[in-house]
């Protein structure tokens, strides 16, 4: 799996610039208090450094440590955190790629099989020799209608971003299996390029050199050469909806005439429904296609697989809190709905976590084999400031009276890991049960990380109340009650796999499994003998279902402990939802307006602060205009606006003038005012244009030339 990690998701890689390694809030504050780290500690770092870091950075840290104490430490931990981020994220990234690839591989094999079948079907009609392929006139066969085999791949997501990589991988897959491959995008299949341009780009991808006139004969003579002859040509069009129907239609008509000589097949990606090709192409063209429908896993399937692999399965050393999980879920379902943005949000969360949380470098330990040793090393080397910080973590102070020794911390972390593991096994069991009731893993996950889950259910509130916080978990439990015996048995089997390592519970599951078998056999024998006994068997299965549900309920109560309830969870758990929110839901227009209304917040100039809220001439023109615009409704009279703008500019002009010259001579002030009249108009115009460009207002229409419209409202 080297290839996917080398070429990660395009959109996900693009957030690299976001990763600015801030100095952690706590660590910067600690540097302010500046406890000079003891020489002993530093030496420890040097010893432990080469073991975990690459030797180069260790060396560098030693050199710098010689220069000054505090900074060196800080830098070292910054670097450690950065390294931890890189390691953990690359692990997550490769997991993601693996999961997504695994899902799409099923489709790829289907497509390949379809290609091979269609190829043999085409070849069974006729197997033209090379000369025949080159002939310009069509082959005379008994085929009444020449059709191009076409696979419509339904991507099941209106948003297209996720599928870019899917189709790229599909192309690679087909190519590695010996198909000639070309990809046409919507830009090539546009009116602008026409069918000629589109055909040229097709040739460019297949032929080594494209002749001056790109026509189908060039393709035919290329195809008729021996080394190309025995493979089909597959043309992938990944976003059918965006193509121009006319151009695609022409291309289809053109190629369909030749399909027996040059077996070209289409693979077309459809984001919406099968109606898309019908709407896009003429019936004449559609007739030339021999369609076949293939579907990609739906986004929620992919999401489930991803959540399972990244968030639920333990040992990645990074997890998210309930708030973040809920935010991500809502963002996925309500706003964006793409896996790509989910992943980039996760990456953002991950990078933020490692940049903000001073102790986050300890997450790396979760990836080590001997994590306790790793942690012990690290703890011994911790400088005082971080030490203090660690023991001051809210989760520790809440749980236990005092934790001072490193051992305790190590223990705490190991405990955390263990509980996390149990938690994930139980969660997976829940999901397995919920699958039968169409419960999504992301939903269950969001409930399972809820720290209130634990506290809420103990008092055993009336159903209506508790239902809000654990709706999906209850739903999963409910489905168990109505499962037929066979599925129940299967479910128990899957559970016993998930629960490996939790001996007590897996014993219980085994017990239940044995009873399932016995009741199963009992039912069969009873069915043989009497019909009456259906009632009683019904009872027994119900009892069994209840037993299983009770077991699950019991296990859930015991083990489904949210990370946020555990000590030291801050080290691995990202909680800061507001950072994520502002990064993902930018709301730029609002931000621009806010900044314009309160420029001194950013400029921090002395002149404006003095005046307070009032609009002053020293402000930027656009800012003044924006402030003035707040006084109007949805339309602004340009003249009024100009006058008030002029008033503000001039008021201070005169003020400024008045102050130095206590007796202003009219002669002097006049020419300046006249000059600034034109100047003010120009400034006014520029400000209006800037407001227009930022999308805060719209220029006057022809009908009402003296009014501009406001677009953005509210502070």
């Amino acid at each position: 799996m080297a290839a996917p990690s080398e070429a990660p998701l395009t959109a996900a890689t693009n957030i690299e610039p976001f990763y600015v390694l801030h100095k952690g809030t706590a660590s910067s504050s600690s540097s302010a208090s500046s406890l000079p780290s003891s020489g002993r500690a530093r030496r420890r770092i040097d010893i432990s450094g080469p073991a975990s870091l690459n030797p180069k950075s260790g060396k560098r840290s030693r050199n710098e440590a010689a220069d000054d104490d505090g900074d060196g430490d800080e830098e070292l931990y910054d670097r450690l955190r950065l390294e931890a981020f890189h390691r953990i994220w690359s692990k997550i990234q490769s997991t993601i790629n693996e999961v997504l690839r695994g899902i799409s591989l099923k489709l790829f094999d289907q497509v390949l099989q379809w290609v091979q079948e269609s190829f043999s079907a085409v070849r069974s009609i006729a197997r033209p020799c090379t000369d025949e392929v080159r002939q310009p006139y069509p082959l005379l066969t008994d085929v009444i209608c020449r059709k191009i085999p076409t696979a419509f791949v339904l991507t099941k997501n209106a948003e297209f971003v996720d599928d870019i990589t899917t189709f790229r991988d599909l192309a690679e897959h087909l190519e590695s299996n010996g198909c000639h491959l070309a990809k046409l995008s919507a830009t090539e299949l546009s009116e602008k390029h026409g069918v000629g341009g589109c055909f040229r780009s097709l040739l460019r991808q297949l032929l080594s050199e494209v002749p001056d006139v790109a026509d189908i004969f060039a393709l035919a003579s290329w195809y008729s050469s021996a080394e190309n002859y025995d493979q089909p040509i597959v043309v992938i069009i990944d976003d059918l909806e965006q193509c121009s129907g006319d151009v695609l239609g022409e291309l289809v008509m053109m190629l369909s005439e030749w399909v027996i000589k040059i077996p070209i097949f289409f693979v077309m990606g459809i984001a919406t429904t099968l109606d898309a090709p019908r709407k896009l192409l003429s019936s004449e063209t559609l007739q030339r296609l021999e369609p076949c429908k293939l579907t990609l896993g739906s986004p929620s399937d992919r999401m489930n697989a991803l959540v399972e692999a990244i968030l639920v399965k333990p040992c990645d050393g990074f997890c998210i809190s309930h708030e973040v999980a809920v935010f991500l879920r809502n963002y996925f379902f309500k706003h964006d709905g793409t896996i790509t943005s989910f992943i980039s949000a996760l990456k953002l969360a991950c990078s933020k976590h490692f940049s903000v949380e001073p102790l986050s470098f300890l997450c790396m330990g979760m990836l080590e084999e001997d994590c306790e040793n790793f942690w012990r090393d690290k703890f011994d080397a911790l400088p005082q400031s971080l030490w203090k910080y660690a023991s001051g973590l809210p989760s520790c102070t809440r749980e236990k009276d005092s934790i001072k020794s490193g051992d305790n911390m190590v223990e705490g972390l190991s405990e955390l890991m263990k509980i996390q593991k149990d938690w994930s096994s139980v969660l997976l069991c829940l999901y397995e049960a919920g699958k039968h009731g169409k419960v999504q893993l992301l939903d269950i996950f969001c409930e399972a990380v809820n720290p209130d889950l634990h506290t809420q259910k103990t008092p055993n509130l009336p159903n209506g109340k508790s239902g809000t916080s654990r709706r999906f978990i209850d739903q999963a439990m409910d489905t168990i009650r109505y499962l037929p015996v066979e599925t129940l048995f299967h479910l128990l089997e899957v559970w016993s796999i998930h629960l490996k390592g939790m001996d007590k519970i897996s014993d219980k599951v085994k017990e239940l499994q044995s009873t399932t078998i016995s009741t199963d056999s009992v039912r069969i024998t009873k069915d043989k003998w009497t019909r009456r006994s259906i009632n009683s068997t019904g009872n027994s299965t119900v009892a069994l279902n209840d037993k299983v549900a009770m077991l699950l309920d019991d296990v859930t109560r015991k083990f489904l402990v949210s990370v946020e309830c555990l000590p030291f969870h801050e080290i691995i758990c990202f909680k800061n939802v507001s950072i994520l929110q502002s990064a993902l839901i930018g709301n730029p227009r609002r931000m621009v307006q806010l900044d314009l209304l309160k420029p001194h917040k950013h400029l921090k100039c002395s002149c404006c602060r003095k005046n307070g809220i009032a609009v002053s001439a020293s402000m930027h023109d656009t800012s003044i205009m924006c402030n003035l615009a707040q006084e109007y409704g949805d339309v602004i009279n340009l003249h009024d606006w100009y006058l008030s703008f002029d008033g503000i500019i001039n008021s201070t002009h005169s003020k400024v003038k008045r102050k130095p010259h206590t007796s202003p001579s009219k002669k002097k002030s006049k020419p300046i005012a006249a000059e600034s009249e034109a100047m003010i108009q120009a400034r006014f115009c520029r400000a209006v244009t800037e407001l227009q460009i930022t999308g805060l207002l719209r220029m006057p229409s022809k009908r009402r030339p003296d009014l501009v419209q406001r677009i953005a409202f509210g502070p």
Binding site: F217, Q242, T468, I585
Partner: protein
Amino acid sequence: MSQSVTPRRTTRSSASASPSAAPATPSSPPKSRPKPSPRRQLLAAAAAAPPKEDGSSVDAALLDALPGRRAQAMDLLRLLAPAPVLPLMLHGGAATGKTRALLLALRHLRPSQRLVYAALRSLPSPRALFASILSQLSATSFSTSSRQRLPDKPSDFVAALRDALTGIISQGEVVYLVFDNLEVVRSWDKGGQLLPLLRLHDLLQLSQVVLVYVSSGTPDAYYSMTGSVEPNYVYFPDYTVDEVRDILMHGHPNPKLYSSFLSVALKPLFRVTRRVDELSAVLEPLFRRYCEPLGDLKAVPDEGMKRRLFEHVQPHLAVALNETFSVPMRASMDEVKDVGSAGKGSVKRQFAGRDGISSELEFHMSVSAKYLLLSAFLASRNPATLDAALFDSTGGSDNHKRKRKSSQASRDMKDTIVEEMLMKGPGTFPLERLLAIFQCITSVSEDILDEVECPDNMASESETTGLMSDVLLQLSTLCNSNFLSKSRSCPLEGSARYRSNIDEDLALKVARSVHFPLSKYMYRR
């Protein structure tokens, strides 16, 4: 053929044919073949009384390969046999066997003839056409200067073509120049390229070059304006039912079974389309369905069996009839689907499945995109004047009823507006209106969402601001998936107008998936 054209044609053809205006003898040299004006009558007569030379024994194979095209084949043979003076045009609807007949006839006449064939459909531009023809002429025998430089202009092409042709003709060969899919040229360059192609005969003035045009358009489309010599026409009419049956039966492994199938299926489908290719496309999956109950495909069905098979295939036939009408693609689509869920009784499941599909959305879309799509649909469907009535500060749902009880006159007026809207199809709307409706809808559904889904407490907090924030991104998504179309305009101006392209079914599906009472907001008469 229009009457008004006839006299002009007469004069022209008589002028061109006057030197050799002699009584027709099929065996005479090509030049002496006269072309009297009412060509259609001549052809009809010729078809009625086949020429002596084209003995039936020679043509048996040819005619056998062209079922239902006897008259046309005869015409072709007669017109092509001695290289004719006048060009030839084969015309008739799509899939009537023009190209096939021509190629077979040419092969039949001279197995080693020089054939230059250009299917204009597979040539994207005039330049490609020129290149293709010249390379076909030059590739085998000699390389002219045209090989190095491709002509761009039609006049250059004609010159190059003449050069190439004279070389070949001097060796005593007859060259057939075939232009297939001539109708395509009309879309090139507003037909400017068409003239030199049609006037090639006049321009080349080479007697041993036979020009053959094949077109699915009528000849009126080409020769009314050119002022050049009109070709001989061979008309290929649509096939009749019996001919279609013959064609379909041709070479079938189990003719008895297939003919019993055709006797059931062909007639109703023939009412929908007469094109053989379309029919064969529809019939193929139907026949597979027809054979499903049969264990042995070689079996010869008796009456009882036929009836059973008919009952089996009838529901599918009804479906196919409807689908052929729009797009004959779904049939094979279901085929594929059924292969997956193979088994007996798949008929019912298939129909049930189709219903199931129609009730829920097949693809994923984020909630805000769904709301945006719904508001776009409403904006396109409802007249803008009714917006205030439908949506107001209270969200509209309760106010709506009160408004409807307005006076008869105003209601009538609204009705006419609505009717007008329906007649015009989906209307366009500016972005502001879309956003306004979007905000109304989401503010109302906020409560609905709370009731139905009861999302987590913090989710609903961020909802209001959240839903609005990236609307413009969603808008571009919708435009990309062709749900909305956008008129181009200056992006700064922001006055682009949109139109929703979705039908009511899809809108209802989307509405159902977010539990939105769409029908409440849709203005109907």
